[in-house]
């Protein structure tokens, strides 16, 4: 005779539920533990484990600009937009990162585009937010290719065989094509134009200091802004240079604005001393207020005009150098009036 089926008591029910719940709780705990395991306990360096998380493609761009929307007709975005900050910039451009991070870099946004008909026709857009127009102009001017032509209708811009580079306010941008295909270059132009329209927060594009350089004898598009360490001298900051042509001689002139005349004189003396310490030899000046230094056969000239340090860098011809120095001094004299 089988025993009668008994009804479970409340206590039995509670115990049964508790016993059933235990494995569920254990499973939840195991899952949680796996999600939060500190693998450094096992000797794995966090620097290694962080790596895959920081690969660029895993970081989708969150910039205000719709990078995918800048794709020209016949092209489409190739992969996600990427973005990099000061910590991660080297992941994209490796050894070139210091050029930007030492010049006020804020953020890089990039996007690749590929032709819908030919996957070998690609170009990549780089948008560097450099924080200020001066910073953007600096990285633009330092990298400017000699073999290039101006790109009309854009603030500071030039083209090379396969690329277009521009500085607009706080942004420095590169559009780099995989080849010099006319189709690709048209696409680059389209995206550049669309990009400028989208850089609404770029700020003023003008660099007022460039107007100090007289246009007479000036070689167009040769301005460079060194934020730090111009001509190898750490003290020479915020220094603009430009190239001039006198007959067949090329002359590089420079100016650096200092807080006051005393600071300008001190910096000029320090720079002259730097050149001399590195092998330069003082030579008789044409003007007592100007320092002339022979540097291994080239001429370095340093002078002061009010709060400006000015000079000529590595000139081959003294007469040409003096002509340009006089032009710069006159311009600065007018500036200081």
């Amino acid at each position: 005779m089988s025993p009668a089926r008994h009804q479970p008591t409340r206590l039995e029910s509670i115990v049964a539920i508790a016993l059933t719940a235990i494995p569920v709780i254990i499973l939840v705990l195991i899952f949680t533990a796996h999600k939060t395991t500190d693998i450094s306990r096992f000797g794995i360096q966090s620097s290694i484990t962080e790596k895959p998380q920081s690969w660029g493609l895993l970081t989708e761009d969150k910039s205000a600009i719709d990078l995918a929307g800048l794709a020209p007709q016949g092209f489409k975005p190739f992969g996600h937009g990427e973005s990099y900050d000061e910590e991660t910039l080297y992941e994209k451009i490796n050894g070139k990162a210091p050029l930007y991070t030492e010049s006020g870099f804020v953020k890089l946004s990039t996007q690749r585009y590929v032709s819908e008909k030919n996957d070998e026709l690609t170009f990549e857009l780089y948008i560097y937010n450099m924080g200020s127009a001066a910073n953007a102009f600096s990285v633009y001017s330092i990298q400017r290719r000699a073999e290039s032509s101006p790109a009309d209708g854009m603030p500071f811009a030039y083209r090379t065989e396969n690329a277009l580079y521009l500085a607009d306010g706080r942004y420095y941008c590169e559009l780099i094509g995989s080849s010099d295909s006319p189709l690709l270059l048209d696409a680059v132009d389209f995206t550049a134009t669309a990009l400028i329209e989208n850089l609404k927060d770029a700020g003023p594009a003008e660099i007022p200091q460039l107007a100090i350089f007289p246009s007479q004898n000036l070689i167009p598009n040769t301005f460079i802004l060194y934020l730090n360490g111009a001509f190898g001298f750490a003290g020479l900051t915020n220094t603009f240079s430009a190239k001039y042509k006198v007959n067949d001689e090329t002359v590089t002139a420079f100016i650096s604005k200092q807080p006051d005349p005393a600071a300008a004189k001190e910096l000029a003396d320090q720079y002259a001393e730097f050149v001399i310490v590195n092998g330069g030899e003082k030579i008789a000046p044409s003007d007592p207020a100007v320092k002339y230094i022979d540097f291994y056969g080239s001429l370095e000239i340093v002078s002061v005009e009010d709060s400006f340090v000015l000079g000529i860098h590595q000139a081959d011809d003294r007469m040409a150098a003096d002509i340009i120095l006089a032009l710069i001094r006159n311009s600065l004299a007018k500036e200081n009036q």
């Binding site: 025993p3 008994h6 009804q7 008591t9 693998i39 306990r41 096992f42 000797g43 794995i44 360096q45 620097s47 290694i48 484990t49 790596k51 895959p52 690969w55 660029g56 493609l57 895993l58 992969g79 080297y90 992941e91 994209k92 451009i93 490796n94 050894g95 070139k96 990162a97 210091p98 050029l99 690609t122 990298q143 290719r145 000699a146 073999e147 290039s148 090379t160 065989e161 396969n162 690329a163 580079y165 590169e174 780099i176 995989s178 080849s179 010099d180």
Partner: protein
């Protein structure tokens, strides 16, 4: 019905259930005991051990340490360069596992010259397999940028695979820590060790480039790509780290491709106007000598690149490449 009536159970059934429950507990405990692993995961055990990078170099041969080839096609030049050094048979033995380390640092099209020429990589792969009778050729690098993109867009992934190489892309588990004896920077630092673990030979193939930080990127700098971790901190000590890399990695052979040279705006370049033809390829067993000659193609002197002298002083090679009696030749 009383409470006692509800829980009434025959003695036999009670005992049977108790025995079953007991056996279940014993079986579960035994299974747990059997499966319990008191050691941490094996990968952890490996990683906690410092590794030593094998010395892949070959014995020096007088007058066969460096060859310099003039020619427009780097793949053809490389054949001539290696033949003049004694042939690939000097460097690769039948059954060897060869690791080739090109520069795949950027997701950049081959036309921009920021990465190793894919046709040159493919040529060396074929040479190792066909004439060297290598068992396997592994092509690898540790780009900081997404490796898949770098190997894809540089064209190196496709070219190497088509030539018969095995592509190895970096994963966190492939890194091991190492220290360079007497090194200032490479101390308990992760390197991309997996490819070298079973390798018999290591061949570096680098493009010749201007470099914003170091002045030039050549065969010694190419091994920067085998460092793991946040290696960008070494950019502050770029000369020291390149010299230490030359001490840490002793390759079988290095090839420096100066057919097209990135003269400006390196190491990324971007414009084809950054590139100039030099139509020169250098191969050798002394990376310091190879790079010292390479510097001249960038119009630099040895003194312009302090890491060359640092590496030479540390015993990694000679900056005076002429002392090694380089073999000059040309390929039309």
């Amino acid at each position: 019905m009383t409470k006692k009536d509800k829980i009434k159970l025959p003695r036999r059934q009670f005992l049977a259930r108790t025995v079953k429950a007991g056996l279940s507990i014993v079986a579960a405990s035994a299974l747990a005991k059997l499966m319990y692993n008191s050691k941490p995961p094996s990968v952890a055990a490996d990683i906690s051990e410092m590794v030593k990078v094998p010395d892949f170099s070959v014995a020096a041969r007088a007058s066969q340490q460096i060859s310099i080839i003039k020619g427009p096609d780097p793949a053809q030049s490389s054949l001539k360069a290696i033949d003049l050094l004694g042939g690939i048979e000097r460097f690769v033995k039948p059954g060897d596992i060869v690791v080739i380390k090109p520069n795949v640092a950027f997701a950049s099209p081959p036309a921009l010259g920021a990465t190793t020429n894919p046709a040159l990589v493919a040529q060396i792969v074929r040479l190792c397999l066909d004439r060297g009778k290598a068992k396997k050729v592994i092509v690898t690098d540790n780009p900081i940028n997404n490796p898949e993109s770098c190997f894809l867009i540089s064209g190196i992934g496709k070219a190497a695979s088509a030539a018969g190489a095995e592509l190895l892309l970096p994963r966190p588990a492939y890194f091991r820590n190492t220290s360079l004896q007497g090194g200032k920077l490479i101390n308990d630092w992760p390197i991309y060790f997996e490819a070298m673990r079973k390798a018999d030979r290591l061949i570096g193939i680098a493009p010749l480039k201007d470099h914003h930080r170091s002045g030039a990127s050549m065969t010694m700098k190419n091994f920067y790509g085998l460092l793991g971790g946040r290696r960008n901190i070494f950019h502050q000590n770029i000369n020291t780290i390149i010299a230490e890399l030359a001490m840490l990695f002793r390759p079988t052979l290095v090839i420096l491709d100066g057919t097209t040279v990135m003269k400006t705006n390196g190491p990324t370049g971007g414009s084809t106007s950054d590139l100039k033809r030099a139509d020169t390829l250098i191969a050798g067993t002394d990376p310091v000598a190879v790079d010292s000659f390479g510097a001249t193609l960038l119009d630099l002197k040895t003194s312009d690149l302090p890491y060359l002298s640092l590496a030479a002083e540390a015993g990694a090679g000679s900056t005076d490449y002429m002392l090694l009696k380089p073999i000059f030749a040309s390929v039309s």
